[in-house]
């Protein structure tokens, strides 16, 4: 645990590694929720394995934040401002992934605080990078001076 809330995080904080198995259910359920009809997210096709949607990195972010800051966003709701993910390789279901994050910046702009955290999703067995995800969130939607 790094902080009580995500809003406690500071620049340079390294978020603890979270290791988990990407089960077929995880990939399928997420694909259903976002209305993806690409069959490879739902099952193996021919000799090709079922894959996790690359945007599942957003859940990986939440896994790491939940471990680092178990009481959640903070006094007010956190709101995502930007998703920025680069795919470095597929994530087959049944594999284990290790996810960590590093707080890159925290800045106030127009009364709102922006937190940028870079997450890396790596194959636990090989260490190979699968996704790098740079997340920008607002720690408060309402500007501080108007609350």
């Amino acid at each position: 645990m790094l902080g009580r809330w995500v809003s406690d995080l500071e620049v340079g904080d390294i978020l603890p590694v979270v290791d988990y198995e990407v089960t077929p259910f995880l990939g399928r359920d997420y694909a259903h929720a976002v209305e993806s009809v690409w069959e490879r997210f739902h099952s193996a096709v021919g000799g090709d394995p079922q894959l996790a949607p690359p945007t599942l990195a957003h859940v990986d972010k939440l896994r790491v934040l939940a471990a680092a800051c178990p009481e959640g966003a903070g006094p007010v709701a956190r709101m995502q401002l930007e998703y920025d993910a680069a795919h470095h390789g597929p994530i087959p279901v049944g594999s284990r992934m290790s996810v960590t994050g590093r707080v890159e910046s925290r800045q106030a702009r127009a009364g709102r605080e922006r937190l940028v955290v870079v997450f890396e999703v790596r194959d636990t067995a090989t260490g190979s990078l699968r996704t790098r995800y740079r997340d920008t969130s607002l720690l408060n939607f309402i500007p501080e001076e108007t609350r």
Partner: protein
Amino acid sequence: MSELWLPGQELPRVRRTMTAERMRWYADALDTSLAGRTVQAAPNIHTDDDVARANGLPGRVADGMITTNWLSNMLVDTFGDAYVHTGSLRTRYRRPIVEDMAVEAVVLVRDVEESRGGRTLVADVWCETEDGERCTVGQATVRL
């Protein structure tokens, strides 16, 4: 991917209405993914008007990742493994999307860059409301 892509080409647009059910599906999926079993999300700004208003919003708003996923799906459907394995997607949320707002997702090829490593398609991506306001904007790349 043998198809020739040129600047100005668009993938088939996807038009959807941001229903409360779509917001709920995504909120539940996040908590389900974290729990590893089917669960319902606790009330939050994406599922509960009162919680949203308490945080300065007009009512429940869609999680930005819903429109990001609609754009990502268009790239997956068109480019398949090429996008899933080595693509990228960046989206920024410029304004909240509220319940029953109609949204159109657009992927427009901006360029195809040639390099020694091969060709990379660069696309502008966005989601716009019926009045043409872009609520989600960004860029995607796919190595062809």
